[in-house]
Symmetry: C2
Subunit: 478 residues, 2 copies
């Protein structure tokens, strides 16, 4: 029996212990957005550090500094950096994950206590953090423990970076990655992140692209204070009227962005890409079931995927400063701030996007001939990420997946952003693989978050298989 | 010396006592919208009743019932009905006012404690309720007291109706007016309400028109829950995108309503009306100073007045259900509710307005070809009010004004609504005169509410002069 098969066998035998370990970490309510839980977040980081150190890893606890949360000054939870193995003849894989979780209260509608792991008869492991991201973070630890227990030589040097602020903006993380790029992270050959999800519920995937996001505020102001519509309606330029006219110019209701030039930088769909949609596990039927209503713009699955993955889109999120409560109020708001964002794709540049959007809105506002004032503020401009699935890191991930699941993984992109991906790629100058453990219906930020027992156990196998594949791969072939 | 001159003289001599009386009523914080102040509201109503009874009036305390305010069940404040004098040879005048006030906290930005009347060197009497509406309500009492004190026969039978819920929707009042129309209010010849303001700061006015208001919710819904714009942007019909497209169709940014047919019922401007704007005290300069910015749509004063008084207007108030807080959130709201209202004028019918608005929005929504659902709900449809200023009630008011102020009053209309005006007119079948005491800059619902000492004292003279004019008027000449 090869070492990987031996590893798989021991994972199979250890299922119940693994679930107990998951129960232990789910029970630590490490909610980074809750002042009263900060001690639990730090405790969770310390738990990870002590477990890895017990295995023989060298760890470094980095303190990102202080944070003001709801008026309270708190210590930010530590970033736990680690090094497990230091054999110059082996390759070095860096894994990233986060040990904090989203808030969860039974009153939100959970069927069971969010911080008590429940194993259901249909094979779900329900609890806050089970899939996002404690299952995967624990997975790496269990992978190493199982190798040690089975007496299998660990195939790579493993570095890790576990943070406790991912659900709250990863405060302080980027600075640490930049500072440690040529220090703690020196020698990293490839990066692997397990913090996203399969496209569907049954077929595994590798993820090689993320969209960027450019967020804008469109501010229109006029009168010195809110006005009574009985007295001033029809006699002053209403900021809210100007605003809805401008917002309506941004995108048509088929999702087509109206900003001139916005599609000029978008990479063309190649024949190979067009082909690749054929085999992807994705149906409108399942999507409509999730949405509860068929409000899909596109008729074909591949068009929906393209508009999620590889075309820019524009969404209107809301208005700040206008009347937003229930009931009726006859106010003319004096100053309103429309919020919208674009999801950006290769090869769009955020600076160019901001320039085009601002110019277009200025032009359209000038056409209105309003006496109000208008300005556009780009509050965030994060780049897209795209990696070739032909890179040896991805090839290793694909081989490992096929070995565990018996099927070639889908090659997916995501519509949202995972900013740390780009930070690692740019600062460590290495390839990054997104290797999800959970499925699309895990409900990461929702009530009754779960990971399927199958995904958790097979995922631990997958992590091990991936590391063995990396060990056997010629990365220079890239 | 005639009896009116004698009354004027005693008013002049009593100025300081009158201000002390105003101080006493301002000190009762009768905030109808505040659960903790309900006892004060009731106390204020009882104060009025006892004062009028001490003068010899017959009062009836009507309890409108219960109210649920912020989860607390409260007694509604009483409506105080009164009858002062019952001489069949005299005419009967009904006056209405309200003894509750808007909320006021020193933290809102008041220069002084809102419930402690402060007399400033430049002649302002500052305090919550000073102008809205305790000054006028007290004015009627002081008018009657002064007549008694001076030994002048009171010229009319006075009925009064003072409520304590005007600032909170006049809950229960309409039912009482309907029920008492042929009972307590029987025999009313004319009605006079002093609860609005001069158009400017120096010239008195009579008000003979109010706009109606039709309030609408435009509801667009699609997905079963809020969505992540990274995942779903560009692939689903966003309710917020449909909404801004529809809202932008309602009105252009010059205030022109785009609903077909909406102007068809609007009465034409007559030559006489056109002429009447000549003498009105109203300048854009003063208006722009109040607004802090020149955001006026119209170039000529008379056009601004026409769009405030006699043309319909449409204002967009806000959106419920979308992201409205500060900061950035990449949500696609699943269900949004746009709020807008039309101010209506003679001869528009609310039912017809609702029909036109609904049809238009349905047509425009159909053009969008969206898979979301849309519906329009008219949440309120209140009629405009218009009275001829040639009615003897207005002629009496004009004569009284000229006698007190030495100038013919402006004949004004208001852009807003005072619904009780129409309720009295329709149920009592009598003419209603709006006879304001305060000036345009009194800041009725704002911080540092005031009434000028001049307006308060001359206003008390005006009330007396008006009642004497009514006594001398042939109402049948109408």
């Amino acid at each position: 029996m090869g070492s990987v098969e031996k590893y798989f066998e021991l994972v199979e035998q250890s299922q119940q212990q693994f679930i107990e370990q998951l129960r232990e970490v789910v029970a630590i309510p490490s909610v980074s957005g809750d002042v009263s839980r900060r001690g639990d977040v730090i405790r969770m980081g310390e738990w990870l550090q002590s477990k890895w150190e017990a295995l023989g890893a060298t760890c470094k606890r980095v303190e990102p500094g202080k944070q003001n949360l709801d008026g309270v000054v708190l210590d930010l939870p530590p970033v736990i950096l680690g090094q497990y193995g230091n054999d110059p003849s082996k390759k070095t894989v860096l894994v990233y994950g986060h040990y904090d979780v989203q808030p969860a209260l039974i009153e939100d509608g959970w069927d069971t206590d969010p911080f008590t792991l429940v194993e259901t008869e249909d094979g779900r492991l329900v609890g806050r953090g089970s899939t996002d991201d404690k299952g995967p973070v624990l997975g790496w630890l269990l992978c190493a423990e199982t190798h040690k227990q089975a007496g299998i030589e660990f195939p790579v040097n493993l570095k890790f970076c576990f943070e406790g602020m991912e659900e709250s903006g990863s405060e302080g993380l980027d600075d640490i990655i930049v500072a440690e790029a040529d220090e703690w992270f020196k020698g990293t050959d490839v990066v692997c992140i397990s913090d996203n999800y399969w496209l569907g519920k049954t077929k595994p995937c590798l993820t090689h692209g993320l969209r960027g996001v450019s967020y804008f505020h469109l501010i229109v102001e006029g009168p010195g204070a809110d006005l009574h519509s009985g007295v001033f309606g029809g006699t002053v330029h209403e900021p809210m009227v100007d605003l809805v006219h401008l917002l309506a110019k941004l995108v048509d209701n088929k999702g087509r962005i109206q900003v001139p030039g916005i599609y000029d930088q978008v990479a063309a769909v190649t024949d190979a890409e067009e082909q690749s949609y054929e085999s992807v596990e994705f149906t409108h039927e399942a999507l409509v079931a999730d949405l509860k209503n068929d409000v899909l713009i596109h008729g074909a699955e591949r068009d929906t995927l393209k508009h999620r993955w590889r075309f820019p889109t524009l969404s209107i999120h809301g208005v700040e400063g206008a009347f937003h409560a229930s009931g009726d109020k006859t106010v003319i708001p004096a100053r309103v701030r429309g919020k919208f964002s674009l999801r950006t794709v290769p090869n769009m540049e955020p600076a160019r996007v901001a320039e085009l959007v601002t110019k277009y809105l200025n032009d359209e506002f000038a056409k209105l001939g309003s006496k109000n004032s208008m300005r556009v503020v780009e509050t965030h401009g994060g780049r897209w990420w795209f990696s070739s699935p032909d890179h040896p890191n991805f090839v290793a991930g694909a081989r490992a997946t096929e070995r565990v699941y018996g099927v070639k993984p889908d090659l997916t992109r995501e519509g949202g952003s995972i900013p740390v991906t780009l930070t690692f790629e740019e600062n460590l100058k290495t390839n990054v693989l997104l290797l999800p453990m959970g499925a699309s219906d895990d409900g990461a930020h929702s009530i009754n978050e779960k990971i399927d027992k199958r995904n958790f156990i097979q995922g631990i196998k997958l992590f091990g298989a991936y590391l063995h594949e990396i060990a056997a791969t010629d990365l220079a072939a890239e």
